[in-house]
Symmetry: C2
Subunit: 202 residues, 2 copies
DNA sequence: GTCTATAGGCGGATAGAC
DNA sequence: GTCTATCCGCCTATAGAC
C-alpha cells in the first residue's frame, strides 16, 4: 500500500507492465519461474524496480490476481446477461485461456495464506453472480428450485467446464467429446423457457 | 535407470524415504519447496544422496508420481468393486488427502513435458477403470447407454467430487452443501438396479 | 551406499546515486 | 521513478573420499 496505486504521475506504466509480465511468465512457465529478475526483464525494467512497486514477490502475485479480477467479473456479468444464461455459463467456463493461470494460483493458494484468502473471496463473488443468473434461468424454465438448487446447478455447469479445460491443458481428452455432447444435450433440453413457466412468471 | 530400482541390497530404504519425503514437502509447501536439500533432510540423508538415486530433481518428481500410481489404481479398483459403483466413485473422488498433491502435479504438468505425459497416462488409466465400473452400473439400472454414455457419467461424478475438494482446499465452501446434497440425491435415485433391467441382464 | 566439499549460478531484498 | 551495485543465502549438480 506504500507503493503508488493509481498514481499515473511520473510512472511510465512500469507497474502495469510488471503485473502483466508476471501473469505471462506464470502462465507460460509456472509461478516458480516468475522471479523478480525474470519479470523485470519481461517488463523492460531493472530488477530493483520490482521492489519499488511491490514490497515482496508475494505482494506482486497478489496484485496479479487482483488486476485480473475486475476484468473477469465484468466479462462474466456481460456473458450472463445473454439470452441463455446456462449456455453462457458453460461457454464462459470453457475458455482455455484462463486455465493455466488459474492452476498456478490454485497451487500457490494451497501454501500462501494471502493468496488463499483472495482466491476465496473472488470465487465467492463469481459464484454469487453465476448463481443469480442461473436462478433467473431456472425459474423462467419452470424448474423446481428446491429440487434443483440454482447454486448446485451453477456449480455443476461451471466446474464441469473447468475440469475439461484443466484436463485439456495437460493433454487429457479421453471422454471429453462424450461429456461435452452430454452436457450440451442437457442444456438444449433445458434451452427454451417452458411456456407454462413463462406464464407463471408474469 | 542407472540407479537401483528394486535393489533392496545394501540400501536402507533411502530411496523410498526420499520419494515419501518429496511427496510430503510438495503437499505441505508446494513443489518449489521440494529442493534436494529439503527432501534429503526430511528423509534423514545428505543432499548429495539425492543425485545418487535420481539423475535430477525432475526425475525425482516423476518417481513420486509413479510411486503413487499403483497404490491409487488398486484403491480405485477395490472401491469400484463395491455394491454401488456410482456412489463408490463419488466417495473415492471426495477424498481430501490427495487433493493438494494432485494440484501440485497439475501445475507442474503445465510446464514439464515428462510430468505432463505421465499424468496423461495415469488419468487415462483411471478413466478406463472408472468408466468400466460405471458401464456395468448403468446397464444394471436399465439406463440407455446411448443417452447417458458411461464415460460422461463417470467423468461427471468424479470431476464434480474433485472440484469440491479443490475448492475446499482453498477454503471455498459456498454452495458445497447444496451441490453435495443434489448429487447424492441423484445417486440415491439411481441407487438400486431397476427390476426390469435386472431381468434384461439375465 | 553414503558422505564431505565445492563449483557456479540464481534468488530475494536493500542502499544509495541520479 | 529508475538505476547500479552489492549482500548473502539457497539452489542443482558434480568430484571424489570412505
Amino acid at each position: 500500500m506504500a507503493a503508488p496505486r493509481k498514481a499515473r504521475s511520473a510512472d511510465n506504466g512500469a507497474r502495469l507492465r510488471l503485473i502483466a509480465a508476471t501473469a505471462t511468465i506464470m502462465r507460460d512457465e509456472g509461478y516458480a519461474a516468475a522471479t523478480s529478475r525474470r519479470v523485470a526483464a519481461e517488463a523492460g525494467v531493472k530488477q530493483a524496480l520490482v521492489y519499488y512497486y511491490f514490497p515482496s514477490m508475494d505482494d506482486l502475485f497478489l496484485e496479479v490476481l487482483r488486476a485480473g479480477t475486475e476484468v473477469s467479473l465484468n466479462r462474466i456479468r456481460d456473458a450472463l446477461a445473454a439470452d441463455d444464461p446456462l449456455t453462457a455459463l458453460w461457454t464462459l467456463n470453457s475458455d482455455l485461456r484462463m486455465t493455466a493461470l488459474n492452476t498456478e494460483f490454485m497451487a500457490l493458494a494451497n501454501h500462501r495464506k494471502a493468496i488463499r484468502a483472495e482466491l476465496k473471496s473472488i470465487a465467492e463473488r463469481v459464484r454469487d453472480i453465476e448463481t443469480a443468473a442461473v436462478t433467473v434461468a431456472l425459474r423462467a424454465r419452470g424448474i423446481d428450485l428446491q429440487a434443483a438448487p440454482p447454486v448446485a446447478v451453477s456449480m455443476l455447469i461451471a466446474q464441469t467446464a473447468r475440469s475439461l479445460c484443466n484436463e485439456e491443458a495437460v493433454g487429457v481428452t479421453l471422454g471429453h467429446d462424450e461429456l461435452r455432447e452430454f452436457v450440451e444435450h442437457q442444456l438444449r433440453t433445458l434451452g427454451a423457457p417452458s411456456p407454462e413457466a413463462a406464464h407463471s412468471v408474469d
